[in-house]
Amino acid sequence: MECHKIVEFLKASWEERKQYYTEEWDMTNVPNFILTTLKDREFGFDHNGNGPRDRYNEFNSPQDLKNFLQKRCPFATYTSVSLYENPKKRKNWIKAELVFDIDAKDLPVKNCDCKGGEVCESCLSDSKELLMLTADVLKGDLGLKKINFIYSGRGYHIRVLDEGIMKENSVVRGEILDYVSGSVLPEGIQWKWNNGFPPIFKKRAKKFMKMLSEEKMSEIKNINGTKASKVKEKMDLIIREFENGDLSTLKKILKSKGTESFLENLRMYNASILDGKVTIDVKRILRLPSSLHSAVSMKCMEVKKIEKFNPLKDAVPKFVKERNI
C-alpha cells in the first residue's frame, strides 16, 4: 500500500511553540486524572530537543504549570505516571498508573511502505487497532475499568488508574505485560481453553497474519518465496482454521519446521507491539497530554472517543494548518 503522508511531520519552531502554548493550549485539555493529582507528580521538560534533561520539577497548582508552559514553551513536556509524597526529590513513592505504550513508528509488521522509524496514516490506524485489542484484554480478562487513551503524537498510551493495580511492583507489571501482549505461549490450561491458543494470542496474531506480505514472510526462517506466496494465497482459509486451533493447511505448505518458525514469529510480533520498558518502569515520565510533540508538530492529547479518533485531523495544531495555507 502506498503511504499517504497527509501531514508532513516537521519540527515546530520556537514561534510556533509560543503560538501553541499561548493561543491554543488550555488547562481543560489536561486530563482530570492528572489535574487532581498534579501536586504529587514529577514533571520533566525537554527545552531544546535533546531529551527530557530538566527533571525533578513539581507544580503546586494548575496555574503554576500554565505560567511555566506559556513562559518557557518547552520542546516537550512530560509528567510522571507515579505519585510521590515528595515529587521534587522523587521520594516516598505512593503508587503508579499501569501504562502501555504503542509507538506507530516501531510496529513489527507494516501494511505500508514505511520503513522502521517512519510513520504514515496506515501505521497510525494499525496502532489504533492494536491499542483497542489491548484495551479489550485489560477490560475483559483483567477486569480493569479506569482505562484512559492518550494519543502521544506518534503513537498511543494506555493509562490505567484502577486502585487495585497501582501499588503493584515491576514484577507484577511485567507479568501483566506478558499476558496482555500475548507474547508468551502459556503452558497448561489455557492451551486447552479456546481451541489451542489463548484468545489474546489469536486476536493479535490474526491481525498480523492479515498484514504479512509475501516478502516479509519469506524473511522468516525455514520459509522461502514459493512457500510464502502459497501461504499468502490461502491466508483467509489459514486464518479461519487458526481460529479453531487448526493448523493443517499451514502445516501442509510450511511443513512442521516452517510452521514452528511462523508461529514463533507471530509470537515475536506480539511481543514487540508494546514497549515493555514503559510498562515495568514504576517511575516513568510520559508526555503530558495537551502538550506539543514538537519533533512532529502534533498534539499529545487525551482521546475520549477512541473509535472516532483520527490523529491526522484531531491532533493537528492550528499553526500546522496555517502552515499549509
Binding site: L142, G164, I165, V172, G188, I189, K192
Partner: protein, 422 residues
Amino acid sequence: MNEEVLNPFSEEAIEIIKNSPLVKDRKGLSNIKKDQVKKVEEWIKSGGTNTAEEEDILFFSILLATIALRFGSYSKESKLATEIIKMIISGRIGKLISEAHKNDYDENKIISIFSQFFNVVKSNELLKNSEDNKRDLKRASSSMSAENRVKYGIQLSEIFPAISTRKLKLNELLIINGHAHVSQQNLIKISIYKLEALITKFLDKGNKIESKNTIPVLKPLEDLISKWASNPDEYLRNLQKKMYYAVKSRTFIGKVIKGGKALNPDLFPPCIVHILDGVSSGSRNYSITVLLTSFISYARIAPIGSKKNSRISEYIDDLNVIEEILSIIYRAAGRCYPPLLDDQPMEKMNILYHLGFGLDGDVRLELAGNSNWYFPPNCDKIRREAPSLCRQDKHCKRIKNPLSYYSTKIFSKKKNIKNKKL
C-alpha cells in the same frame, strides 16, 4: 477465628498480635519471656504442631521478628525460616484438605480452608451469566484429576503478591473478568507463594523498624537458628520426617509442571529390556522394585536434568503418568517366574515407596515426598546386587548409570535426525 492458623499475616491474626502483651506497651519484643523462647524452639522442632491458636500466631511473630532483627531479609537464616514456615503451613493445609476429602467432596469446605489467604468464590457462580465460559471451563478440565479441575475463582489483586515471587505466571492461569480461575492444587501453590511474599515483606520492613538491642532474651533462639542455618538441608529433612508423623499428609510446593516425556523403549539399556521380558526368582525383587521402578519413573518423568532428592510432584501434575508407569512395572512383575506380585503382594507398596509416595499404599500427588524417590542405581552397583542383569552392549561402556544410557541415546537420536536432514 476458631480454626488452624494458615496465614499468620491475615487480618484476624494481626488483631490477635495487637492485643497480645507483645505489643501492648512500647517495649514490645523485650517483653518476651525466656520460657516463651524455649516454647518457640520446641514448637519449631515439632513442625509447628499442638499449639493453641493464639500462641501459634505469637510463635510465628517471635520467629520472624528474631530473623528480621538479627539476620536481615537476605540472610540464609531468613531463607531457612521462610522454608520452615512454608513447610508448617503446607502441612496444615494438606491435613485440612485430606480431612475435607474424607467425607463427600465439598467445595465450600475447600473455600473456607483458603479464606485466610483469599476470598475464594466458585467459578460457576462467577461465570453464571456466561454459558460459553462455563462450557469451555468444563471442557478445559474434563480430562483432569479432581484436584486439578478448575473450580475456584480469586480476584486478581489477591494473587499479585504470589505473582511477585516470580514463581507464578499469569499465563499459567485462566483469567476472566478480573478473576483467576484455578484448581484446588493451584490454590495450595498460590497460597504458599503468597505466604512467601508476605514473609519477605515482613522481613524487609521488620529489619528497619526495631532497634536491635531491645531483645537480649532472643539470644538462645538466634543461636539455634544460626546452627540450623549452617546445615539447613539436614535440618529441614528432619523436620519433614517429624511432620510426616505429626500430620500424616503433606502438600507439594511444586515448580512449573512439565509433564515429562513419552517413553521410547527402543532406547532402553539391555538390563531394562531384560527385566521387561521377565526375570526369574532370585533377582525379581531387586529388578522390579528397585531398578525398574526407579528407571521407568525417571525415564518417563525426568530423563534429563532431574535433581536428586526431588519429588515426583515437582515434575508432573497428572496422575495418569503415574498410572502409566505403574502399569509397565506391574506388567513386568507379571512376566517374572513366578509372577512377583502373586506370591509377594506386599511388593506393590514397596514400589510406591520407591516412587516417593511413602507407606500409605495410596497414589496421590500430595503424598509424593513421603519417602525418597529412588534414583536408578549405578551400573557397578547393579552388577554387584544382580550380576545376571548386566549384559553390556557397546553403548554401555560409555555410561555409568542406566538412566544416562537412555538420556544420552535420546540426545544422539535427536542429533542423528538433524544430521540426516542436513
